[in-house]
């Protein structure tokens, strides 16, 4: 059984360490906030200018001046702080964010990522994604292993315009967990009920299977 989006998020949340500052992209990455392990203190950064992002407000308590980078209403927590957009990307660029989770349309075996533009279709813009991938030290991609038509999103070379080059360290998909190493994608975990053969079939980029590969524990 391939993982649900929630399970992908849950698996990624297990990578969190105490004291991490974390930036979660839109989509599956956002869900990671729901699975922060007990006893692990992290602070969430929202690149529109908030550190220490809290949960959604209670009904009727929405504040138009308090949103996250996805433009959703949010709240603060004790210790929260606001700052301007230049400071926000300054802390990203200076490597102060310990852990960054992004969605992607394609990832290459060299760690390139494409997630901002499909030529010929509408272009919405890269937002903060290019800044994040150019600077974050620890980038994890959360995505489906294949696109809706069944094509692999783990490729030798990205076909879409790049967001960043050689920056992704780890990919968590509905099928497994993949480190990006010298030899390309290295499968270190597979989802329960998913076979190595299925992973091999659905991975277009260069793939190795770790000697220590194991079934994912969620």
């Amino acid at each position: 059984m391939a993982l649900t989006k929630e399970q992908i998020a849950q698996r990624i949340a297990r990578e969190l360490k105490n004291g991490y500052y974390v930036n979660l992209g839109i989509g599956i990455p956002t869900l990671v906030a729901n699975y922060i392990p007990a006893g692990i203190n992290v602070e969430l950064q929202s690149e529109n200018g908030l550190l220490g992002m809290g949960p959604f407000p209670f009904e009727g308590e929405e504040d138009a001046d308090l949103i996250n980078a996805g433009k959703q209403t949010v709240t603060t927590l004790p210790g929260s702080v606001f700052f301007d957009s230049a400071v926000s990307f300054g802390m990203i660029r200076a490597g102060r964010i310990d852990f960054t989770v992004l969605g992607a349309m394609e990832v290459s075996e060299k760690g390139d990522i494409a997630n901002w533009k499909i030529p010929g279709k509408m272009v919405k813009g890269m937002g903060g994604a290019m800044d994040l991938v150019a600077s974050a030290k620890n980038i994890i991609v959360a995505m489906q292993h294949t696109d809706p038509r069944g094509n692999s999103k783990l490729l030798s070379t990205c076909t879409l315009p790049l967001t960043g080059v050689g920056c992704v360290k780890k990919v968590v998909t509905d099928l497994g967990v993949f480190d990006i190493i010298e030899e390309g994608f290295c499968c270190i975990e597979y989802a329960q009920g998913v076979t190595i053969d299925e992973i091999k079939t659905k991975t277009a980029g260069r793939l190795t299977i770790s000697a220590d590969v194991k079934e994912m524990a969620i």
């Binding site: 929202s46 690149e47 529109n48 200018g49 908030l50 949960p55 959604f56 407000p57 209670f58 009904e59 009727g60 308590e61 929405e62 504040d63 138009a64 001046d65 308090l66 949103i67 996250n68 980078a69 996805g70 433009k71 959703q72 209403t73 949010v74 603060t76 606001f82 700052f83 301007d84 957009s85 230049a86 926000s88 990307f89 300054g90 990203i92 660029r93 390139d112 509408m122 272009v123 919405k124 813009g125 890269m126 937002g127 903060g128 994604a129 290019m130 800044d131 150019a134 600077s135 315009p161 790049l162 967001t163 960043g164 080059v165 050689g166």
Partner: protein
Amino acid sequence: MAINKTVKDADEAIRDVFPGATLLFGGFGLCGIPENCIAALVKKGVNQLTCISNNAGIDDFGIGLMLKKKQIKKMISSYVGENAEFERQLLSGELEVELIPQGTLATRCLAAGYGIPAVYLPAGVGTEVAEGKETRNFNGKNYLMEYAFEADFAIVKAWKGDTCGNLIYKETARNFNPVMAMAGKITIAEVEQLVPAGELNPDHIHTPGIYIKRIFQGSNYEKRIEKITVRKRNS
């Protein structure tokens, strides 16, 4: 003695925005946008504008209102995905668009505000954003040379301001406003509350009044929310 920057209203504040001008607009999505000045610009009808703003509003609010009136020749933004009229004008070739990374956008404002003509930034190295830009290696990592923005006007929104132009922003409505306020040749600030000089704590001010040419208290703020997300109370 404090220098007085107050003007009556948005119409007076934007009186000299001319056709073809380059404008910086504060705000992130619809949060912290200068609603009164946008309305006044729509009313004035000045066109051929180059607008630098992280987003382009939505169809019926924010900068979207200026797009609808075809006042904008070029948008420089990082994300413009919330606007159907924008899409139509872009595809029909009526609107020119330059998409740049959000942090680069903020930092090019910062550079202008700090009198720094150019800086080196990593975002976009190896992508189409790098085309035509100088790439340079520092400590083994590649960076692009990015120029400070040169804008005729910056139009920002703050929560509180005083008569000499000092500004305090509220929560995430701060976003691009402070760096844009520093970056405009002429900066116009609209505020929800305008107070006499001396009423703001000098340690709490985010934007020193020296950057502000004109300030006024706006009215009828709608402060529309793009995505209301809430949780239920445990009862």
